[in-house]
Symmetry: C2
Subunit: 594 residues, 2 copies
């Protein structure tokens, strides 16, 4: 009964009509990424996700991964699907052509990742981690390492992991104990135990390349003494054939709430041979390259689940006959009206929709800035980098919080049928729940946002968002057709500005003030960003309503914008009050009294 | 690692210090329910829940119920626990002594139910359904039925169910198709299929008494043609021994997101013999007696899970060392500070705590009114009945929404460790999720609230809440020590009053106006009720701070009240705005455009 159709119409709207990505061909390296090419890539990806990945989603959850004596078996069909995935060239979609990639823009990748997450979140983690490893190696690896490992990663024959967490340390990587001892041949012997390693062991690829944080013998204490190493599962000969097994083994897999088809592994390194990636003690820098890529990708997981849950809920709301409309039967010929006539069902569906479409626009806004890092003008590159740095924690935390909320609304539309496994709606809620946690919990994202991004360079990062939004409000304030969108945006934006000043000032005196407000502030920022995007989407859509709007797309877009402004954006008022109340009630509470 | 200690100190505070239930002995039938007796009953229940039920919670989830050829096996240990539960007399704690019950006040039962839900939600459903069946039979059954079935239900040897839902009808019971044909002996032959029947089949009791909604041959269409029947699994001889199997069978059990140790059954009635309960075609009335009892009980499930998840999260936050306090190391001798020093962790813990303690007070406020239905003064009885009718949907929806939120916060405090099954935190989130759905989804509760309770008798029900709260604000407005609590309460209350007028007026013109605002309005009402209770809890606690407060209980209570007022109550502002925005954006959206 569950189904998924990639929202290609809306995707095209966002990239071509809203974000003007048609001109991406003017950026060096993207000359060939014409709208026609992008269209056909998206259509191909949609077909693959709908026909290959989505049908394996429920069965993958039911079957899960199986661990047996160090070996991990993925669910039935995953091997074939992964093979087809690689044959179609999806792993290297944005990777450098120098290593066999297709070098397509990040905006395209962002939409493809959304589709993969909608259709099969667990599956998506395998190539997702490889993608992060690619990015880290491309940025920080030596030419030798890149030449040796990147082509296989890009073609998907080998996969990658991120080995950060240890049993006693997650957020606080400075506590990590895994050791790296230099060997005479220039390699290192890595020893330690890493946990929660997604795709740490599986049967999809011939080799697995672990990127491992470890500590050199002379390393300074804490976070400044961490280095990054590449540790392959199998050694690789010079001719690229695989050699002996390295000292890496999978000790067990976790039993989790969801993403059961994704292997979450305990990985033991026992004098495993590793190669240094980047400089000694500078591992966190390299790891952050990977982590930032992953954080944006995790945000898209929230979006992907919001979308597929919305689609499931709409389909059910149309076909489930129950009760009559409060204003009289809408389908008197049927035994009852479909539940989509009920205002509270519509409230839930429109909330899911407004979050999914809003986050899609936000995701492309961020991805476009990733692409602008290729711009010939250094100032544009710099500003794009700053924008990405600023919004990365917001995309990660906002999208996954809203994705979780949307998945739960989708279940709720189904009533009791949402709670049983059969329809797949509860799986979305279980699967997306991890996205609020991994790659830095959403609380950690909020702390990064208020503690690092907000004060950075006297607020320069923040201006990458404040300036365009302020300019937009100013520019549109006299357009009466937009008043219903600009006014609420302006109200939210004013709250955000005031809250920013409050946090910046109070946080200087007492960092706990910023810490106590962090989660509320990130959400306030995120909702204001969505309001800006919804105002722009309404602005783009309004003139197209009428003769050209044969499928009602623009009417629906404007209608969703109205719902967002009237029913969802008011949350910013509550967040503002909570932020302005300060940290005292949070911090004065005696630790022993909890 | 997971643990549970019944919050007896807070329970005593609520019943004796806040709600003055010490005088419950003045009510007819409760003469023996002295504080000493209540105390010892609660202590005994706490011991049973902590030592017998809680240790079976995780294993019950892992093992689940097993269905095999019509038979359902509960997880290991459940039979022994249930036997001990009955031997201790818990099933009949509030039932009439005439049938072997102990006739204790509902306030006591409310607290015991909370403890059961904290320790083992799945287990609690078995006696919980029996309790509902008892109430329905006591209120609507003939003397003959009561004499025959109640004693065994009260002692727990037999259990009960509610058979309402059918594959094509849940909320809209008017669509139900199960048939009841009169037989010559005065009984009926029941035929049909019921789904989602909790405790529909299991191995805990000798017999199962199904209360079944079915339609007589001459029944009017829709909801006014539904009658209620008692259909035992085994026939019962006059000497109370069991006879042949009735035409009732379990077709399968559901595979669910959570409450896996609770059997959710498809029950087939094939010319099963049933006895009419109450009058023909008046089944909904009888069923609502049962359903209202269950709705309050489901609310307590939300509370119970909020409490146990809070306890788990606090324990973890104290022992997990990660990072340093933003204001400098608090435990410099340790490798890192416990995460309880971090403001965002405290925010999550205090939110859980404020919701759990607030709902506990609200639950007892409601339960006390259940007890007041025994009052000698008819006016008091009537007003108590009205209060219960008013708050039942609020208790059900508010407690379960907040319980779900609290369970998710508890997981979040654990980070990655919250997502794996080992620690049990994700089980709470999965288990409590059903409580937002069954016994009428929370959206249906909200519709009941705005559609029936709010307009009933020109708002008379509503006055049972508005009058005491308005009087309290008026009375305390000049007490400066309470200003920090009364002011925010007053602000929320004013919003609630304005929203009430708006919904009442707009809803008269257009019922969709009330429908679109229903969920937000119920939450606004619920948070305002919590604010009233938190103000009263602060008022009671403030004078006791000092010499008498040896364990810091009252300081913590006032601290939690402050957190609630400053950080959580502002939500009412957002809800108010969303309500006042009206239904247009929700209803104008074209059905085909979803």
């Amino acid at each position: 009964m569950a189904s998924y159709k990639a929202p290609l119409r809306d995707m095209r709207f966002v990239i071509f009509e809203l974000m003007d990505c048609g001109d991406i061909t003017t950026l060096p390296g993207y000359e060939e990424a014409t709208p026609d090419l992008i269209d056909s890539v998206l259509e191909e990806a949609a077909r693959f996700c709908e026909q290959v990945l989505f049908p394996l989603n429920r069965s993958g959850d039911e079957e899960g991964c199986v661990f047996d004596s160090g070996v991990v078996r993925t669910p039935k069909g995953f091997q074939e699907a992964y093979k087809a995935f690689c044959e179609a060239g999806w792993p290297g979609i944005t990777s450098s052509p120098a290593y066999g990639g297709q070098g397509l823009p990040k905006i395209v990748n962002s939409l493809i990742e959304e589709m993969i997450c909608s259709s099969n979140l667990s599956f998506g983690l395998y190539p997702g981690l490889s993608h992060g490893a690619c990015v880290a190696l491309e940025s920080h690896g030596s030419e030798e390492l890149k030449d040796k490992y990147l082509p296989k990663l890009v073609e998907g024959t080998w996969s990658g992991t991120m080995c950060l967490t240890e049993p006693h340390c997650g957020t606080d990587l400075g506590l990590s104990r895994t050791k790296a001892v230099p060997a005479e041949d220039g390699t290192y012997r890595i020893t330690g135990t890493k946990i929660f390693i997604s795709a740490g062991e599986h049967d999809l690829t011939e080799n697995i390349l672990h990127l491992v944080l470890a500590r050199l013998p002379d390393a300074p204490k804490g976070i400044k003494g961490i280095s990054l190493f590449l540790v392959p599962k199998f050694f690789v000969h010079d001719d690229n054939t695989l050699g002996a097994r390295n000292g890496v083994s999978c000790g067990s897999i976790e039993h989790k709430m969801g993403i059961k088809a994704s292997a979450t592994c305990v990985i033991n390194f026992d004098e495993a041979t590793g190669w240094l990636v980047g400089e000694p003690h500078k591992g966190m820098r390299a790891m952050f390259t990977m982590m930032n890529t992953e954080r944006l990708a995790v945000g898209l997981q929230g979006l992907g689940i919001a979308e597929v849950s919305y689609q499931g809920a709409v389909a059910y709301a149309r076909e489930r006959l129950q009760g009559r409309s409060l204003t009289g039967a809408k389908y008197p010929d049927k035994p009852a009206d479909p539940i989509i006539v009920h205002p509270d069902i519509r409230r839930m569906l429109l909330t899911q929709r407004a979050y999914a479409e809003g986050c899609r626009a936000f995701g492309i806004w961020a991805a476009k800035h990733l692409d602008l890092r290729n711009h010939p003008d250094a100032t544009v590159r710099q500003e794009a980098e700053e924008f990405v740095a600023l919004v990365t924690p917001v995309v990660k935390a906002l999208f996954t919080d809203l994705g979780s909320e949307a998945a739960n609304l989708g279940m709720q539309v189904f009533g009791g049928h949402g709670y049983i496994r059969e329809h797949g709606m509860e799986q979305y809620a279980r699967d997306v729940r991890i996205a609020q946690i991994y790659e830095g919990t959403n609380g950690v994202q909020a702390l990064d946002f208020v503690g690092r991004k907000l004060p950075a360079d006297m607020g320069r990062l923040l201006r990458r968002f404040f300036h365009p939004v302020a300019a937009y409000i100013e520019e549109k304030s006299s357009e009466t057709t937009l008043t219903e969108f600009i006014d609420p945006l302006n109200k939210a934006f004013t709250r955000l500005q005031q809250a920013t000043i409050k946090i910046a000032q109070a946080g200087l005196r007492n960092p706990d003030e910023a810490g106590a407000a962090a989660t509320d502030y990130l959400r306030l920022f995120g909702l204001t960003a969505l309001a800006y995007l919804w105002a722009r989407m309404a602005e783009v859509s309004l003139p197209k309503i009428g003769a050209d709007d044969t499928d009602g797309f623009y009417v629906a877009k404007v209608g969703t914008a109205r719902f967002f402004m009237q029913r969802l954006l008011p949350q910013t008022g509550a967040l503002f009050s909570s932020i302005m109340a300060g940290s005292k009630s949070t911090m004065a509470f005696d630790e022993a009294a909890f």
